[in-house]
Amino acid sequence: MKFLGQIKMEILNILRSRFLLIICILVTTASIVIPVLNFVLESNRTEDGGGGIVRPLPIDGVIYSRAAMKYPPDMGQDPIIVDGVKIEADNPFYWHIKGLQQEMNAMETDKNRFSEPEVLDLVLSMMEEEIKLYVSFAQHVVKPTDYRVELGWRSVSIVHEKFIYEHNDVREDWLLEAAMYKMGVNPDTFKEKYIEITPEQKLAAIDKLEDKINNLKSIVENNDFPKYIEWRIEQENENIASLEEQIAIHEQAIIDNPSQEESLSSIIEDLKRQIEMIKTNTIPILEYRLERNIIPGEDVWQNSALADIESSRNQISWIKILSEEEFFKDPWLVQQHGSYQNYVNSMQSQIDELNKIILIAQNSLDADKPDMKYIPRGARNRTVSFLDYSVFVALLAVLLGGWLMASEFQQGTIRLLLIRPKTRTKILTAKFVAALLICLGIYMAGSILNMVTNGICFGFSDFMYPNYTVSGEINFFAYYFPKMLACIITILFAYTGAFMLSVVIKNAAVAIAVPIAGFIGSSIIMGVFTYSRAMNWIAYTPIPYIQLSSFFVPHSAVQYIIQRGTPLNLTYGIIMLLVLSVLCTVTSVFVFKTRDITN
């Protein structure tokens, strides 16, 4: 009881410094001010109508990444009107239509581009068809993120092919020239495929293409998602067929020329891998989309989760751990990893990381409750990101710890302090505990205030969703609080270090400046080593662990380093920091106990 009373007096003693009191209050209120500011700034931004983030669409990366570019509406472009249809500048087809129109105008002035004027006429009518197609799509599809944008690109080649069949009675060289300009056909098979066919064959081909185009158009017009999935699966099966064809060709080549076996067999292997991925990854995901009605391109978390699953599975299929013998044949790998064991560890940790991503995505989808990572602007994510607050409080702890004892020496109050009927150990302990309690109190209060403020600003409902780990589903609070408590170690380490310097050096400025320099230095070292090789030794120093919060906050440098295979071990780091903290404390007590007060 007596000791508690003493600590209370020491806390009062510290907080009677107006400077420190104000700093403590500022640090505490920062936990409320930061989310509120974010909330205000973000809600202003959406009111402006300025761009929210458009995520790249998951289904077909190459095509969609182009489609996903969102043209700002205020670029000063006027809408185009084609056949009475008005197309706004932010329409996904706007720039293509506009480009075609400009190209057509340019061609009409530059008559010499083609060998005959008739070729120009053919090209122009092909382009008109193309514009007509885009316009019909643009009427229904107005958002660049719409999944139907893809169908527009897919339809163009069908329209062109149909045009060639329809005009196979014009002069062959004209048609070839026009077709080469728009499509890049193979001139060797051109004649055989398009010209030398019977009228029945021609009609059948046109009908087939007509069906295809109508099918796509009806998907677009009716926004027929199930039909879209059906079409996509069809496409993937065609893909498989063509890959199998290529395999057959390569296999034949090996039989014909066995000396090529080594290079060709790796190509075959790769093709087989691609087929395998389509069968086990792409198609099941498409079926899953249909089943759960997860429409690509919509801004829902399920799309991110499916994208994670698809790309992670894909990446895993690419990772191949070389045998020891193969590893040493590659000097670059040897230089990169140093030893075979490091290489294997690095590869294994990459695979583990990817499997973890898949697991989280899968569990979120199955339970239909998203993991925190899929709600990046949700209250949970903001709360976890606020673990970095511990670094902020650690700086306050350095300030308090460095000032605490040094100021007693510098002001001379130490002389009136140590003539009391308390042993020096007791006096030091009371002061040590008092300032530490202030720091921890601020940290805990700040963290909880931040959590509540996040809930108020961004919705408490997000807190109700679970998070997922390798060992299963976990309530968010059970997920968060251990991490929050672990981050106290950063504060403790900074505090004990500054406190020790404060006792030993007896100069507040030095005792504060040195730990802060250490903090900055460790950040710089981490920044430098993130991009350099052979830094495994760093895992055995306290440097990567000082900011423990970076192990928990998404997208930090530490997580990048872990992904690169540096054997950072959180448990080891925590133990090391705790041991160092205890050493600093013991040193402080020892030095203080045995010191002569000569000033």
Partner: protein, 307 residues
Amino acid sequence: MELLKIEGLSKTIKKKRILNGISLTVNSGEIVGFLGPNGAGKTTTIKLILGLLKIDEGKITICGHDIVTDFENAMENVGGIIENPDLYKRMTGRQNLEYFASMYKDVNKDHIDEVVRLVKMSERIDDRVKTYSLGMCQRVGIAQALLHRPRLLVLDEPTNGLDPLGIKELRDLLKYLAKEAGIGVFVSSHLLSEMELMCDRIYIIDNGEIIGEKSINQIDDSEEAPVYQYVFVTDNNEMTYEYMKSLDINCELKSDGVEIVMKSSEIPNIVKALVNNDIGIYAVNQKRRSLEQDFISITTGSKTQIR
């Protein structure tokens, strides 16, 4: 009763021997002066008594409690000031006192008020220490030393920064505490006249050693004849000076005459000798005898200069 007992105390700081086998005692109800030139070891001794420095050799007991083995009980019985009373400037005088009071077993608010009244700081006690003059700090410093009703007071230069009235008040306060409450007071100072007016007994320290211990009464009555300082005013002071030198008398030539320190019984002999030498004596003035003369006479021959 012996409140403070120091036996064979030695201390070496940075290879320099500051104290060399000091022994002294302070009894209940007694004001003991600790007199010595700067650098003699006064503050070091007081820091050792109050536990700020570690004892190299020797033993200090306060009210029977060894300060090394029984620090907490020893400190319960002693209050002190070392050098300047450096208080927490960010706090008020009262907050300072409350903070220190919290470290003792039972010091209540009423007692704090009482102590504040005693040092006449009631009006300013709730102002921040920042705004205090040195004298006010000194008063609060004395208040904190008295907070827990100690049986022994150890004061290092307590009159520093006090005005003459303040010094008199402090003197009266200490005398009151010693006589009425039976407190033992151990006070160091270089203000010699101060000591004389206040102390019952003094120790004189020089170069880390006690070179004299005298009670004030003892000084008054000691030896067959008292030692006084005399100024001889003659028609030829230079000649007088030279003559006294030739007689091996310790003397000094001043503007108003020749100054000597001498037992009164020797004066007629000197006058006779001067007259025999045809030196005309205008006057032999006896200066007021003070501790200063004692102090000087005791420390004469010391390497240390008195400033």
